[in-house]
Symmetry: none
Subunit: 248 residues, 2 copies
Amino acid sequence: LLTPDECDRLRVVLVATRNPLNLGAAARAMSNFGFHRLRVVNLYGLAFREARSAVGASQVLVDAQEYKTVAEAVADCTLVVGATAGRNREFQHPLRRLEAGARLIGAQLRSQAVAILFGSEKVGLSNRDLSCCHWLLRIPTREGHPSMNLGQAVAVCLYELARETEAEDAEPGAKPKAAIAADLERITAVLLETLRASGYLGAPPNTSAEEKVRRLVRRLDLSATDAEIWLGMLRQMAWKMGSGKKHD
Amino acid sequence: LLTPDECDRLRVVLVATRNPLNLGAAARAMSNFGFHRLRVVNLYGLAFREARSAVGASQVLVDAQEYKTVAEAVADCTLVVGATAGRNREFQHPLRRLEAGARLIGAQLRSQAVAILFGSEKVGLSNRDLSCCHWLLRIPTREGHPSMNLGQAVAVCLYELARETEAEDAEPGAKPKAAIAADLERITAVLLETLRASGYLGAPPNTSAEEKVRRLVRRLDLSATDAEIWLGMLRQMAWKMGSGKKHD
């Protein structure tokens, strides 16, 4: 996980974006994942002004900085990475899958500023833009349809940067407290009672059926709380059927 | 990495989506990452028709299936997961971060169908929708701005499913075939009937109690075989109590 300082060292650079909705979407994803340094280059001014003034525009967008050239926008960065759908012309650069690339970016962010460049919706990054990059980043989309929507591409890249790595997660699995065996046995007893009262099972002894029901209850993997609920429900049914029986 | 067959077992279910652009964006992300079974529930028909007829609408959107209810849309799935920004009301369900949740989904996809539900832009998934879920999935957004754009949320979830894991984990997965959602819904219905017949629950409608019971049944984590047994047992009890009632 990145620290706030590390997040602060990332610059998301949008180059020649045309659609104000995409500007807004990119800014929103940045805000969702804790990044806030948005830089825009060579924008169609109208798109930017529209996006900025849209209702609910995020603070990220309001604070965005405008640049005339990519070179100026990345001037303070020690690593510049271009996001690409991986078309042929771009293979003059090292091309890394996002999973691996994000780890390199994360390592750099520990002490230094990094820029990720996203090109325009239609043509991506120009050769001129690419020449400012140290290497290229490819989201692992499928070959038949590699090109992502700009806002979604930004979201996926930032998510990969913000996500927990395998080493970290080891989710403690906040599993609720499990039912103790005594509770399961009580449930089994009442369930057997209801099954007999309903005619599903014949009169005891019927050892094999009882064992089947006992195993069935164990397989439910009940929490302590749920066990109590089931016990209450089954008791009510047993009572109802028992009282029904009396009047047969 | 998921195989094409595994991708084919995932259903992306969009519930009550309002904005046609979001439908289009979700479909595009699916296509980017190799998923193609899109299901839409309770749509504002106009949004769907608009999105479908848009220039460049992806094949995924054209092939999307429409359903009236969430229950119908997930009927063939053995695991139903709700995507959420993690607001308080939803903590009645186990809540997993996307990183860990995606691995559970991936394991299930090896042999069985899984649905991921995405709610509407404004209000997310309703309690009724959530009660059809086994557990909830949370994209690790920051607390100050947790709610993502719908199309971006879909993209991030599918990316996490499609990405390479650090140690292509080797879960043996000798788990028995799980019950499909339609079976769980049948069990829920008969259980509600028995609970009413026994006096444990009052007469319907009692939405909150129904949702509690629906969640309770999902937490049982039933196999297909056990689901059949429980259904048989509960039907017998319902019949018994029903017939008892007649003679009251």
